[in-house]
């Protein structure tokens, strides 16, 4: 059963990577004037490009989740009440708006308003995505935890990617730029701390209000998956911390990029494990349970 969800798991992660990164790039760009020397634009130039291909990849994964992939366009037919329809609409709109904003950027005419609109659509996309799970019959998913987890991953990915973008770019690392990077790192950490604070509330709620399926999910979280959960948080925090610490060390650019790739891998694996646990603990209510 679980193996069938791989494409879906990958889709949510990639879409959250794309949306999170884009939003953080747009925030950095909004500070362009303050930073001076067109730094905000230059430092995010390469990053903005990657958002589109990542989102396309996410779409390809989503299609493979379907038993009838060729019917994918029909998933838009029930916008009135289906969150899956809405998710596809928002994902598509995000991609189209990205193409538009990237095209303007290439022409040297970046439009901040379109950047903000695209970001808002991205936020709507993550909301729809989480709502799909929140409207299922699995107590582990029908909890505000789903929203916290999905937005959490989006922020952590966005923070990691944007810090890395600053680190890897060849522009001068001014004081202003460094202070932004630092604040981004703190936002990323805050997103993790918030999830950690909610974790005990979530597990306790599952055992109390989740019925048999909820209790089963809670015992998976505190039993089989406990060590994985620990690793998941250590990896994400370590990844973010390593990216952050790279700002303060004087190392060669080559070493810097090695550190960056290693750290980003840690964050990716950490978030991947987090999502794996999310799917693994989604126990359905049903007959005789």
């Amino acid at each position: 059963m679980f193996s069938e969800e791989w494409p879906l798991l990958t889709f949510t992660l990639l879409a959250q990577l794309a949306v999170g990164s884009y939003i953080f790039f747009v925030i950095i760009r909004s500070l362009n004037k303050k930073l001076g020397m067109n730094l905000g634009i230059n430092v995010t130039k390469r990053g903005i490009f990657f958002v589109g291909p990542v989102m396309v990849l996410a779409f390809i994964c989503a299609v493979f989740h379907l038993g009838t992939p060729l019917g994918a366009p029909r998933s838009l037919l029930h916008l009135g009440s289906s969150w899956l329809s809405r998710e596809i609409l928002f994902s598509g709109a995000f991609l189209i708006l990205w193409i538009f904003s990237y095209y303007l950027d290439r022409k040297g005419a970046w439009n901040q308003t379109i950047g903000w609109i695209t970001s808002l659509v991205g936020i709507g996309d993550i909301y729809s995505m989480a709502s799909i799970y929140a409207n299922s019959i699995r107590p582990a998913w029908t909890d505000v935890n789903t929203y916290i987890a999905f937005y959490g991953t989006t922020i952590v990915f966005g923070a990691a990617a944007s810090m890395a973008a600053i680190l890897l770019s060849k522009v001068e690392k001014t004081e202003g730029l460094m202070s932004i990077a630092k604040r981004i790192g703190l936002v990323g950490l805050a997103a993790i701390v918030l999830q950690l604070i909610y974790l005990p509330v979530y597990v306790a709620g599952l055992s109390v209000h989740g019925g048999t399926a909820g209790v089963e999910s809670a015992s998976l979280l505190t039993g089989n998956y406990a060590v994985t959960i620990l690793f998941r948080w250590i990896l994400s925090i370590a990844g973010l911390a390593i990216i952050g610490s790279a700002f303060y060390r004087k190392v060669s650019p080559k070493t810097q990029s090695t550190i960056w790739y290693a750290a980003l891998t840690l964050v990716l694996v950490g978030e991947f494990l987090g999502r794996y646990i999310f799917y693994g603990t989604g126990i359905s209510i049903g007959i005789g349970s």
């Binding site: 379907l66 009838t68 998933s75 037919l77 029930h78 359905s284």
Partner: protein, 192 residues
């Protein structure tokens, strides 16, 4: 015409599964795919043992989550009789309905890459006939009709120990069940 639904008499059901097989035959289903399924529960300690069966097809719920969450509109509620039916052509196999039904009724059919479900034998109903499962039952344990009338005749019970809370989807069923199925303090196990 009002909402159609099922009455199921667990007190007389012998667990013969004629309903399940009639459904498989009517819908031409492969091994392992059951639009209607007979479950069995048992418990107690010798000599005080008990057991009962539960036959479930689609409950044609008043608030079907499968209909709400289906992204293509393939699953919909018929206006004239409230039957929850599926336009099989439209299904894209996203399994959203499987994630939505607390009664485990929509079945993902691997071979087709689509989901199939009990349509309440809507084609037969339109001809004024009963769904296949109803007529196949040798004990006459399943009745089909206007759910309000069935409830008037047989009472209104759709919350058993082994069933999900009816407030989730408001199923159009009513059951005549044994005490052990209703008493929250009785713990048993699902045999299949």
């Amino acid at each position: 015409m009002g909402q159609k639904g099922f009455y199921y008499n667990s007190q007389v059901c012998t667990g013969c599964k004629a309903c399940q097989i009639a459904c498989k035959d009517k819908n031409d289903l492969d091994v392992g795919v059951l639009f209607r399924k007979v479950y069995a529960f048992e418990g107690g300690t010798f000599p005080d043992v008990w057991g009962y069966y539960l036959s479930l097809g689609c409950n044609h719920c008043k608030d079907p989550k499968c209909v709400k969450n289906c992204p293509t509109g393939a699953i919909y509620k018929r206006e004239k009789d409230g039957l929850v039916v599926q336009d099989h052509e439209k299904c894209i196999g996203c399994k959203m309905c499987v994630w939505s039904c607390p009664y485990e009724r929509p079945q993902y059919i691997e071979k087709e890459g689509k989901v199939g479900k009990c349509n309440g034998c809507a084609d037969l109903v339109d001809k004024g006939q009963n769904p296949a499962c109803v007529d196949a039952c040798p004990m006459r344990a399943i009745e089909f009709g206007d759910i309000d009338e069935l409830r008037k005749k047989h009472g209104n019970l759709c919350d058993l120990n082994v069933l999900p809370d009816s407030s989730i989807t408001h199923p159009s069923i009513t059951i005549n069940a044994k005490e052990e199925a209703k008493n929250k303090n009785v713990v048993g196990t699902k045999s299949y």
